[in-house]
Structures are given as C-alpha cells and as structure tokens.
Amino acid sequence: MSEETKKTEEKPIVEIQNVVASVILDQRIDLNMIVRNFENVEYKPDQFPGLVFRLEKPKTATLIFSSGKMVSTGAKSEKQAHEAVHKIVRELRNKKIIGKTKPQITVQNIVASATLPGKIDLEHAVTTLERTMYEPEQFPGLIYRMHDPDVVILLFASGKLVCTGAVNEKMVYDAAEKLMNELIQKGLLIR
C-alpha cells in the first residue's frame, strides 16, 4: 500500500520543449508576396525553397512553402502550435496573399524533458528493460524505445530524461509515468 501511495505522490516533472506541426493549406502561396509584406521573414530560394516566418508571440518559427504547406516549430504546447498557425494564416489573409481556407494541422513530433525523483541505475536498466541501447563510449544516455506509447526516451543517470516522438501531449505524460513505475518496480530508481 505504501508503494501505491508513493507512486501517486511522486510524479515525474515534465516540461514540453518543442512541438512540431505540419500544416496543409490546399492552395499555392506566392512567397515573394510575403517577403514584400512582412519584415520578420527569411527567404533565400537559392539555399532553401522554404520561407521562414518568425513570430514573437507565441515564439515560433514556421516554414512556408509555395505548395501551400507549412511546418511550425518551436511551440511549447499543442495549443501554442495551433495558435501560431492560425495567427500566420490570419495575417496572410489580411494581406490578401491567400484566400479563405481552413488549415489542416497535424502535430508530428513533441519533444519533452522530464525529471524523475532519484538517480537511475543505467547499467542494470540496459539488461532489464527491453529495446534499449546504452553505449557510454558514444553517448552518456540510455536510449529506450517504448512500445506503448510509441516514443523514444533518452534516460540519463541523473534521473533526467528526454522524450521524443510523441504526437500528442498525453503520450508524453503517459510515457513518463509508465517509465517511472517500471523503473520503481524493477528497483532501478535510486533515491
């Protein structure tokens, strides 16, 4: 019972660091028009076919392609990513660069960092957990490919971790919690 209460008491502290979302607008965009109308953009067609549209609030960078597709990066939450995309679409529409559309937004990847309460016994974790890789010669963290949710976690001896590959926020929290319970159960978390 005490083990049970401990589990609910202590939760991993999760912080989402980056949300990457792809957007389909379903109409072509004249990138040169954007360059003429906006200050905070970067467009070097001979280097990269996309235009970089930076927003201050929410602080994101969005790549816009002439095909009408966009990639938004840098948002700290799914909500922020949506906000950023809508803001850009609104501004482009105000300048008559694009017509009326409903952007299709799909979150492609979420990167989050988390801290677990205690240190991790990496050397034993490699052998007890499935689908892991730990090569201290190459990288100090242990790479753990979780099945469900389908994410990749980099585990460090300090008890900190990085989780990537999630496509919604719930996956991140589920993964962190599942991992922590697994570590506690197998005695790999040293307090």
Binding site: K119, E123, Y134, P136, E137, A157
Partner: protein, 310 residues
C-alpha cells in the same frame, strides 16, 4: 563431430559459464580453459595426416579440401568440375564427351550461387580483414565480425549502405562481443571512416539484429592503457580496484569508460605514492581530453574518499 573452429567463440562453459573454450587437437578435446571442464571428446582432426615436403607430395596425399570457414560465402563448400582430358577410369575422353563436360562445367558454375550477395561478402570480408589487421585484432574476432556481417547481409541491411561502414561496424561489434579492447574511434581510424558513420552503422546492426552487447566495461581497457604508459602490475591492480569501487557506488553510469580508466589510473598512482605520468600523458594514452581526466578524477575522489575540492 566436426565443426568450423570459429564456432568455438560462441560457446560457453556449462560448468562455470566462461567463454574461454579451447580446442586441443592432440588430445581431441574441447575444454574450458578456466575450469577444465571437457565439452567434447574424441574430436575429429581436420588437418592433414602426413608430413609432406613440397607441393607435389601434398597434392598426392590430399583427400579433402580446406576446412570449413564462415568467412567464405558458402563456408568453403563449393564444388567445381575438374578440367582434364581423362575420365575416372583413366581413359582419354572423346571430343564429344569433352564438349559435353565443358558445357556441364559452365552450367555448374552458373548454377552456383555466385550472386551479388556472395560478391558483397567477399569484398566485406576483405575490408574487415584489413581493418582487423591494422588493429591487431585476433583472427577469431575477424571471423566473428564476418559472421555478424553475414547476418546483416541475410537480413538485407547492407542494401543501400556502403560496405565499408557496415564492415567496420561489424568488426567493432565483434570486438565488443568478445571483449577485445578496441574503441569505436580506433576502428573508425583504421577503416578511414568518420566515427559517426561507423557509430550509425553499429547502431543499425544492434537494433536490427536484436543482439545485446555486453556493457563496455572500463576494466578491459586498463591493461591497454597501462602497457602504453609502461606502468607496473601494482598500478594496474589498484586501478581495477578503484574501478570496482566506483562501479559499486554507481558513479560510472553514463561516463565514458576510457575517461574512467584514465582517472582511476591517475588516482591509483597517487594512492600508491607514485608519480609515473602527468594528467596530460594519461589523457593522451587513453585518448581522452585532460578535462575529462580531471573531471572524472574529481568525481572519483569525492565518491570514494569523501574529498570535496572547491
């Protein structure tokens, strides 16, 4: 009971679990060199029976081909039709029969699995042997590396990737698997590839073959660094002791094994009251930076001796 000798490497002693299994051709036994447990008795000797002097004599007495080897695509079990003008009874063949034989030979050669996979393995085997030579890795490791490469080839991992990098990765994997102290850096240098490339292929190998490599243990590098710096066995022993303590205290997790060795050896000389080398020298010998040595050294002193340096 006859098997390619390189198979031995995969064996473990059922008695003590040691992997140091040796074959003694004279007594015809395979036994564990750690505890002496005999795994196989009355082994068939695959080598030649007679002493011979000169090529002709050896040819006359030869009844079999070369022993099986997994470094060759078909394990050296290929068949070829003899070229000659006489048949088995010693009669000279007629022209018609010779033409027939020539046709058969051709078909037989084409029928042999001389395909791209075989050619690929041939090239890879050569590359691996070159790298292994440069690193002075033992023959058994080379053979193991070819085995790993063959596995990769059979799973289609090689397609679309350079042979070189996979060959180097296979050799590194073999070194790790058999506890031969060669770092990824050394393998990369010997193969003329970037460390990153070899590392990428190595990760691919491990992931796709679902093999578990033994953890790279700092202890296996101690001897190597020690011999480079020409320090005595007492330092080696103390270093191993320190590494063991460090491992028990779990401060080795996530740290470069070579950095750990360097710092432990430095601490060892201090404990023994010796001054054999500078931090710079040990850093060079173990191929890490001085900063790494100092940081690990600090960590070791804190964890093992309770000394906090400001």
């Amino acid at each position: 009971m006859s098997l390619p000798t390189d198979e031995l490497q995969r064996w473990a002693c059922p008695q003590c679990g040691s992997k140091k299994i040796v074959e003694d051709k004279r007594s015809g036994e395979i036994y564990c060199s750690e505890c002496g447990f005999v795994l196989v008795q009355k082994l068939l000797d695959e080598t030649k029976e007679w002493r011979e002097f000169g090529d002709e004599e050896s040819e006359k007495r030869d009844r079999v081909g070369s022993p099986l080897s997994s470094t060759i695509y078909d394990y050296g079990l290929s068949t070829t039709l003899e070229t000659g003008i006489k048949d088995a009874t010693g009669k000279v063949l007629s022209e018609k029969a010779m033409a027939e034989a020539q046709k058969l030979r051709l078909w037989q050669q084409r029928n042999r699995a001389y395909n791209s996979a075989e050619r690929n393995l041939q090239v890879a085997s050569k590359v691996i042997s070159q790298i292994a030579d440069q690193l002075k890795a033992p023959k058994a490791t080379y053979v193991r590396a070819v085995q790993i490469y063959r596995d990769a080839l059979e799973r289609g991992l090689v397609r679309g990737r350079p042979i070189n990098s996979l060959a180097a990765a296979a050799l590194y994997a073999a070194c790790r698997d058999s506890g031969i102290p060669r770092t990824l850096k050394e393998v990369a240098n010997a193969s003329g590839l970037k460390r990153k490339e070899v590392a990428r292929s190595y990760r691919l190998l491990i992931r796709s073959l679902e093999s578990k490599m033994p953890l790279s243990d700092p202890a296996i590098y101690v001897e190597k660094v020690a011999s480079k710096l020409k320090v005595g066995p007492e330092v080696e022993r103390e270093t191993l002791k320190i590494l063991k303590e460090a491992k028990d205290k779990k401060i080795t997790a996530g740290k470069d094994p070579l950095g750990m060795v360097a710092a432990a050896m430095y601490l060892a000389t201090q404990r023994l009251g010796l001054q054999l080398f500078t931090q710079k020298q040990i850093a060079e010998a173990s191929n890490v930076t001085e900063v790494t040595v100092r940081n690990r050294y600090k960590g070791l002193r804190e964890a093992l001796e309770g000394i906090k340096e400001v």
